[in-house]
């Protein structure tokens, strides 16, 4: 047939590599900074040197890296699949609480009441551990719960929401209501999560004291590695055909259905993966800040995750990570320097990004790079 002659001239694009050459270079650089540079600057360089990385700095960057994981997770579900969740703070908090329960049990009898039970239970005059604390003694079980609890909650919620074809702003509102309801539930003392004080005063993790410089650095490195690992996972998901189906769901869901794909499975998979990533971020966050309480589930926290993604640039993966660093960095500086202006700044930032940077910081950088050529 003559068609074969003509088609031979066209070559199909090869499957995209996981990262470009520059991408891998930047990835390796980030890996070196997290695993080598930061520990050396913090632990070995003396405090008097200008190159010393302060403990405050380690804590701050460690925390922001947890936020960046959440922003990355948000990008998968919002940027690529077009489903705006305003309840991701819940999954973050669930992972945090799972870790917090383990850390509470690790206090042992060193609490104020010298009891085997966590202090708040003694205060409430409870004699035995509630059933849902059964696995909190085991670190392995805790690791499992950190992923499983947010995963199961997200799966069940997502199954019913996506099966009922709830979309757009309705879905966002329901997720917001979900995290708010969970917050009210966790505020109550009788649910056994420490009420409005939550969990704090942690002493040890794996029987090693938690408040030492080396433990702080270990958690920092672990968080950095998790962030980088999740980034690669997200890249892999997005560069597979799976990722293109997600974008297709975002752009024209009916066409996806009439092309023979059932969007339910796709949405549910990415939604659950995204929630699990947030759970892991929460679990890494809690030992670093030393506290978890229901305010982590407040609607404002979830909205902030969406802001990180929007500021950095949706559907870019790198963008939301940058966004988390930019916004949280600005927050930690402004709330110290000009505490009363932080909320105005956040509002202005959101308006500014929506009006002038629809593709976020990454979009701006791309435009500048394109313009200079």
């Amino acid at each position: 047939m003559n068609t074969s002659l003509n088609t031979a001239a066209i070559s199909l694009p090869a499957p995209a590599p996981l990262l470009s050459r520059t991408g891998w270079t930047a990835f390796l650089a980030a890996l070196i900074v997290v695993c080598a540079l930061a520990p050396v600057l913090n632990l070995l360089v003396p405090a008097s040197s200008m190159f010393h990385l302060s403990d405050y700095g380690v804590g701050l960057i460690g925390r922001i890296m947890c936020y960046a994981i959440c922003a990355l997770a948000m990008d998968l579900i919002w940027g690529f699949t077009g489903i705006l969740s305003l309840g991701h703070g819940l999954f973050f908090a669930l992972g945090g609480y799972a870790m917090g329960m383990y850390l509470m049990r690790q206090i042992g009898t060193d609490g104020n009441y010298k009891s085997n039970l966590p202090d708040f239970m003694v205060f409430l005059d409870w004699k035995t551990l509630p059933w849902h604390w059964a696995l909190s003694d085991s670190f392995i079980a805790t690791l499992f719960l950190i992923i499983a609890v947010p995963g199961v909650v997200a799966f069940v919620f997502g199954y019913f929401a996506f099966r009922s074809r709830i979309k757009g702003v309705y879905f966002s509102i329901i997720t917001q209501a979900m995290t708010f309801a969970a917050m009210l539930l966790f505020f109550r003392n009788e649910t056994g999560f420490g009420g409005n004080n939550g969990f704090t005063d942690f002493k040890r993790i794996l029987n090693i004291p938690i408040a030492t410089p080396s433990m702080r650095m270990t958690l920092f490195v672990l968080t950095g590695l998790t962030l980088l690992g999740f980034f690669l996972l997200a890249r892999w998901l997005i560069s597979a055909k799976f990722g293109r189906v997600l974008q297709a769901v975002r752009d024209a869901e009916t066409r996806v259905m009439f092309s023979g794909y059932n969007p339910l499975g796709y949405k549910l998979t990415i939604w659950t993966i995204s929630a699990m990533m947030c759970g892991v971020a929460g679990a890494l966050y809690v030992p670093q800040v030393g506290i978890i309480n229901p305010s982590e589930m407040s609607p404002a926290n979830s909205i902030e995750i969406a802001i990180w993604a929007a500021v950095g640039g949706r559907a870019t993966l790198v963008g939301p990570i940058l966004g988390a660093f930019i916004v949280s960095g600005a927050k930690s500086w402004l709330t110290v320097a000009y505490p009363e202006f932080w909320l105005y700044f956040l509002g202005l930032l959101f308006i500014g990004v929506t009006l002038f940077l629809p593709d976020g910081v990454v979009g701006l950088l791309k435009k500048l790079k394109g313009g200079s050529k």
Partner: protein, 293 residues
């Protein structure tokens, strides 16, 4: 079924077999006559009774408005059927019912003789081999032409299969062939959102071809196309006829004149007239609904 319907079905099946043999193709039974006792394979379209699509007494109403009213219609294998009708006649609603988007209040919809379409979801119906083109061209605007076609490709469409999917060489050839057919070979890596309206229509038709459907439902496929593009579309449809069955909803009468055998006129949710284009154009009732009194 009445004896006339049975006989008509037998005639159609015979005609379909004759076309396929004339085109050098082979029927599913390898060119042999159909036996009277056949094993029924679930999920396989049974066209031995001469019908690939069969609607009987289908009705659906939205808030009291009868969009489809006792509609009965059938399509023979390999047929190219044109559907015309004034606005609000129920053409798009009928396609919604066939593809599972809308559930009828009553009636039966069969794909072949054995598959009850009312039991399946949109995605399952698409996988069985019914492809649909929308009135407004619907492509994945943020993906390239290549990626659009790749997504439509007939393959395992489960989540895990998509995670590990690699295009094999047979599939690449198929993709290139379709790309050539729809004349978008040099726009391979352009974003679908940047294509012209007519090119988007072609891309959507290409996506249908990638699905390799047995029945194609095309809602206004040449709307917004230039005369030349329309002509090429007509040629394409005529080559598809025979191997595939097509149902084309169109308003462009010259286009219909080029491609049609039988034209069905829908009005107020049921069939008003059916026949060749000349026949229906001469029909008093058709003139009345189109021109009014």
């Amino acid at each position: 079924m009445t004896p006339e319907l049975l006989e008509e079905g037998a005639r159609r099946a015979e005609k379909h077999r004759a076309t396929l043999t004339a085109q050098g193709g082979r029927t599913e039974s390898g060119g042999r006559e159909a036996g009277f006792s056949r094993l029924h394979t679930p999920g396989e379209v049974d066209i031995t009774h001469g019908r690939i699509l069969y609607l009987e007494d289908v009705s659906v109403s939205f808030d009291g408005f009868k969009a489809i009213n006792k509609l009965s219609l059938d399509i023979a294998p390999g047929e190219l059927r044109c559907i015309i009708g004034p606005n609000g006649a129920g053409k798009t609603t009928m396609m919604d019912i066939i593809t599972g988007k809308t559930r009828p209040d009553e009636g039966q919809v069969f794909f072949g003789s054995t598959i009850d379409l009312l039991r399946y979801k949109e995605s399952e119906i698409a996988q069985m081999g019914i492809g649909r083109k929308f009135q407004k061209p619907t492509v994945f605007e943020q993906l390239s032409v290549f990626e659009n076609l790749e997504l439509a490709l007939k393959t395992n469409k489960a989540v895990t299969a998509s995670m590990f999917f690699r295009l094999d060489s047979a599939q690449s050839d198929r993709l290139l062939e379709v790309l050539h057919t729809i004349n978008l070979g040099d726009s391979l890596s352009r974003l679908a959102g940047n294509l012209s309206h007519g090119q988007k229509q072609w891309l959507e038709i290409g996506m249908l071809l990638m699905q390799d459907p047995k029945l194609l439902l095309l809602d206004e496929p040449v709307a917004g196309m230039t005369d030349e593009e329309t002509e090429r579309t007509a040629e394409l449809f005529l080559t598809l006829k025979g191997k595939h069955s097509l149902m084309v909803v169109e308003h462009d009468m010259s286009f219909i004149n080029t491609i049609s055998d039988i034209v069905t006129v829908l009005c107020d949710g049921s069939v008003l007239a059916q026949g060749t284009l000349a026949q229906v154009q001469a029909d008093e009732r058709v003139i009345e609904v189109y021109l009014g009194r």
